[in-house]
Amino acid sequence: MKRYIYINHDDLAQDLYCDNRISNRKYTLWNFLPKNLWEQFSRFMNQYFLLIACLQLWSLITPVNPASTWGPLIFIFAVSATKEAWDDYNRYLSDKKANEKEVWVVRQGVKKLIQSQDIHVGNIVWLRENDEVPCDLVLLGTADPQGICYVETAALDGETDLKTRVIPSASMGIDFELLHKIKGVIECPSPDKDIRRFDANLRLFPPFLDNDMCPLTIKNTLLQSCYLRNTEWACGVAVYTGNETKLGMSRGIAEPKLTAVDAMIDKLTGAIFVFQIVVVIVLGIAGNIWKNTEAKKQWYVEYPNESPWYELLIIPLRFELLCSIMIPISIKVSLDLVKSLYAKFIDWDDQMVDLETRIRSHATNTAISEDLGQVEYILTDKTGTLTENKMIFKRCCIRGTFYGNENGDALSDAELLNAVSTGSTDVIQFLKVMAICNTVVPIQSNTGVISYKAQSQDEEALVRAAASLHMVFVNKNGNVLEINFNGLLLRYEVLDILEFTSDRKRMSVVVKCCLSGKIYLLSKGADEAILPLARSGQQTRTFSEAVEQYAQLGLRTLCLASRELDDDEYREWSLMFKEANSKLVDREWRVAEVCQRLEHDFEILGVAAIEDRLQDGVPETISTLRKAGINFWMLTGDKQNTAIQIALSCNFVSPEPKGQLLLLSGKTEDEVCRSLERVLLTMRITNTEPKDVAFVVDGWALEIALKHYRKAFTELAILSRTAICCRVTPSQKAQLVELLKSCDYRTLAIGDGGNDVRMIQQADIGVGISGREGLQAARAADYSIGKFRFLTRLILVHGRYSYNRTAFLSQYSFYKSLLICFIQIFFSFISGVSGTSLFNSVSLMAYNVFYTSIPVLVSVLDKDLSENTVMQHPQILFYCQAGRLLNPSTFAGWFGRALFHAIVVFVITIHSFVFEKSEMEEVSMVALSGCIWLQAFVVALETNSFTILQHLAIWGNLVAFYAINLIVSAIPSSEMHTIMFRLCRQPLYWTTIILITMAGMGPVLALKYFRYTYRSSKINILQQAERLGGPILSLGNIESQSRSLEKDISPLSISQPKNRNPVYEPLLSDSPSATRRSIGPGTPFDFFQSQTRLSSTYMRNSKDN
């Protein structure tokens, strides 16, 4: 399919293509209800609830009033529908804002201000500097006589540098006025989402140059959501509009992320569902047997002698309805509610505010806070994330002379200043390259202060440094650069720019000195891209040493070089360059090849070292989080040496004796394979020693390893706690995240730039730093923070609390539902297995909605340990990471507790209220109050810190229970009229309740006390220490070491067979033998693990034992 676009044709093509109305909305006013319901019912849990609710409409089988299920169900649906509607409304508002933005569009040959949504395909749109491009345009004219304009494409691809766009040759040189009347046709493909491709043809109609088809490429386009920069105006014809733009097409709805806790809850729900089905089948069969034997004799029940076959189904269905409360309908609402509160706590946290920029931390994704507490791997970007991304020129080496080595700052090095003032040619040449060899645009403000707009931070740092050394880059006038050196104005004409690409790793400019007419080639680039091209005879050893030395200090190095060109040589090359530049196929490769022809025989001028300072608190953050058992991987596009140096300086790896770096390198498959095997071998051996081993890999070797030796590399990834990956591309970053995720590790990716977006989106948790490289990463991320050091708090405080709270809340929800359901099941055994509900509809509904959900909701305020304690003992995060608080075995504990409490409540109730007191409604209320009392004490027992709100909710709820029931009892028409008044007057009732509470809580309390005192977990110990006010900070590392040695051996040997199994632990505690989650038995690394498992788990285990 192709589309033909008639430029500036007001009547044509108006209706052929959509207008420029952007719509991110999911719903319209009309389809909201059906579509939303359909979406909600595509979830299994909702289908289940709907089925139950529908079954309840059948009065023959429903044990209670259908309202007891329909009420909560409708409430839940209304809540999530309202949330969806609200989100959609906000999207509508932001769409509206974009749609109603005013733009200049040519209509009937006149420029008019219209709303952005009224742009049609074929319209000519005019943009001024810093305008956002409203739709995809083909450039027709710019203010620049060369037909160039600059755009910032950050919103599109995350690259923050300015890109140049040129007008197609056909429209070159058309007058400003004529542009309003231009006519023509563009043949272009149907909309797609490829932002790097646009293959189209343009033909202008007479009276304009009616030459042949003029080919168009992506270079001739302005894509939606880019910004026009450094160009006074530009105009273009709209080719794709609305949701059909390249951006609109690639806009996808991000997959909702599911946390490990959610997955576990789903799993447990499934288990409960299976349990429920089993119960229903067993009770159904038992019920039918009872009916056919016993019930026939019970004449007062009047069972008909003959019944249709489907009667057999009635009893099982009744039990299904009776047991449907086993899966608590309220759990989803409660979880959504507390999750959004966790997110709000992050937003509100005053300790995570970047004081410099006043940026607060923000949780964009409100649903995944628990995962923060379960992070096992952090993959971090380097530049801008660990470092400040403020490049400062620190040192240099010019012709073998080192400047800045003494005081660490070349700009204040007297020797260099002296050299500048005396006019040393080498130094001046060096400074000239610093000032000229770049694509920086100086902008002089009204006050005369010059600011620089640069594509890269390095270039800006160099230009600034040159300026402070009296080589001021003053002005860029077209192609002419003006440089003020000590008051002397030098002009250079830029003839060609040999752009930087990541393959070439260098950039060059060809300039002509306006004074002498000499032509120079000035280059700067990575050492390996420059030094080998030195002219024969020049010694480059000092420079390599300088590079080495600077890299050791963690500085970024750039080599500067120059060469004087002959006129002829240049002219000859220039032709080739132009030709290559106009090639349609393989242009980049051709251009690179042509550049190579010029870039040789360099006169190496020197090495500039630029410092990228570490952010505040980065080393502390990393060491704290490493203590918490989190593994760090650094993924950077920077070069190996710099990456390693940064890694060393921020505690990423320990220096030599303790730490060891294993290099994984190689250019060919064989080399990489050998290297990988060697690294793996070392890794396996050293794993038994308490040593910090990290592997270092570069992008090239990584590519090969991922492609051909994925298995071995995966094993390496699992074994190593630290890795440094340098020279990696954004997609490789995402691949590494994917690799770790496939091993079942929880990953957190943190980055600040557009190149980290893919990794951030891929990871379980994406954290963006709202930094200097723009907000691109922060916008794509689940959490955005101002500084790297907030990560500690985000994980240790917010993540940990969220995990603990959700673990409690979800299991408690199941506990209370199971409790009441077990009582119903027990009751069915004394009611002829006929499926009678002991509780009435009002009680059942209120039990789930009021009595039990409010006290537990305040558990969002519960803190098991104070924030300070957690910060001092980050190791405690282990409990969350390993999922110690929510797993099948803790759940089994809650299940057992529900069973025990149900037995206590049921047995005591039916034995105290016997004979003349066994009235149905009374017995039901006694049992219900027993449940309420028990659950209040259970919540109280599981709460670690009581705030006033918790007291209010727990005890207030108990009071409210009586208040509500007394009110209901006062209504004459209600089923339970006067019941509660009668009960409250009876001493028997109160003695029974006290007995239930004592019998129910006594053993649980004793067990908890025993665990707390004699089998205390690390959390318990810290709680005790905290409460005793003793030294929480551990002091006695050294003297306790010897004593603990023999202690350590025994538990280890016992615990080893259990290693790497999912944690099964008894109620209320955590056995010290259990360890972290394994990569699962089905993984293909069993061969390696037979030998490495024990050793690797030793390391992870040893911090627990």
Partner: protein, 324 residues
């Protein structure tokens, strides 16, 4: 259950109050306080026993020749009068409650417990509201009042007590809940079309008494949650002395023979906790004993092997610092 018996003094002489306001009287102002005549509770720390007489009669009241076909006997129209002698073991203070106890009778069966129409019972206008009453909803095309299985199967054994050939009156008013009489069973709802079907379930109702006065029905319709239950039959308002022999003349009409249900006649006094029930006492003793035992065990463990709370050296990462 041992209990003190709360008893209230009758209060001061009422005539004193009427004289108090007279101002010109020479008599000093009467005050219960100054005269130490405040009403007082006089606890006596003696156990008060609940005395209970239980008489199981469902087999004994079937003549010997009918015992192999009890169901046939109960369904036959012959005379089912039966005489029982009860001996009072201990002095029983009034009021003495007379219960009948049924066993293996599932009033809580789902089919049974729902088979009633509260609307109909309350409101004379709603007599057609019998949808829940299936299968005892209509007879001869007319709605039954009161409808449903519960009402239909109303217990119909009757008891008459004589002591030393003197009739002991049984007070059958006030045996149901007051709230039921006032709110659940209408004052102007009369039984209609009741027990008119071919199959007669239980007792008939007096046609010209409103439902709120039919206390046996009201008691019966408070369904029991357990298959063994007692329902109040009446109250004996005189004290029975130890050794008294009470002759019961009962009409054994109700069919519990089809499902092997026991029938018992129970005479019982009450205490503050209600009737005779040992469970709570035993349960308290067991739970208390368990708590005592546990606390003893914990104390011993604590004394034998004390453990310092919150010792940081228990933290493993403090024990082997190089371990990770």
């Amino acid at each position: 259950m041992n209990s003190n018996s709360p008893s209230t003094s009758a209060g001061g002489p009422g005539s004193a109050d009427s004289t108090a306001p007279r101002r010109n009287s020479k008599r000093p102002k009467y005050s219960r306080f100054t005269q130490q005549e405040l009403p007082a509770c006089k606890p006596i720390l003696t156990p008060k026993w609940v005395v209970e007489i239980i008489d199981r009669y469902e087999t004994d009241c079937v003549p010997l020749d009918s015992r192999n076909d009890k169901v046939g006997f109960i369904q036959s129209p012959q005379d089912k009068t039966c005489h029982r002698n009860l001996t009072v073991p201990k002095r029983m203070k009034r009021p003495i409650y007379v219960y009948y106890q049924l066993d293996n009778f599932y009033q809580n069966h789902r089919r049974y417990v729902k088979s009633r129409s509260d609307q109909q019972l309350r409101n004379p206008g709603d007599e057609g509201d019998t949808s829940a009453c299936e299968p005892e909803d209509t007879a001869h095309g007319m709605p039954i009042v009161p409808c449903g299985l519960i009402a239909w199967s109303l217990f119909n054994d009757t008891y008459n007590f004589t002591r030393n050939d003197q009739l002991v009156t049984i007070n059958k008013t006030g045996i149901s809940w007051k709230s039921d009489r006032d709110h659940k069973f209408g004052k102007n709802v009369y039984p209609r079309n009741f027990q008119n079907n071919t199959l007669v379930g239980g007792a008939h109702l007096v046609a010209n008494k409103s439902l709120s006065e039919q206390e046996d029905l009201i008691v019966w319709m408070r369904t029991a949650a357990l298959p063994t239950f007692r329902k109040l039959y009446g109250k004996i308002e005189v004290d029975l002395q130890a050794g008294d022999v009470i002759n019961v003349e009962l009409q054994n009409n109700y069919n519990t023979y089809s499902f092997d249900g026991k029938k018992k006649l129970v005479l019982s006094t009450t205490s503050w906790l209600g009737g005779k029930n040992d469970f709570l006492g035993i349960a308290y003793l067991v739970v208390g004993g368990l708590c005592f035992f546990l606390s003893l065990v914990f104390t011993i463990i604590y004394l034998v092997k004390p453990r310092k709370l919150g010792d940081p050296s228990y933290l493993s990462w403090n024990r082997n610092p190089g371990g990770h």
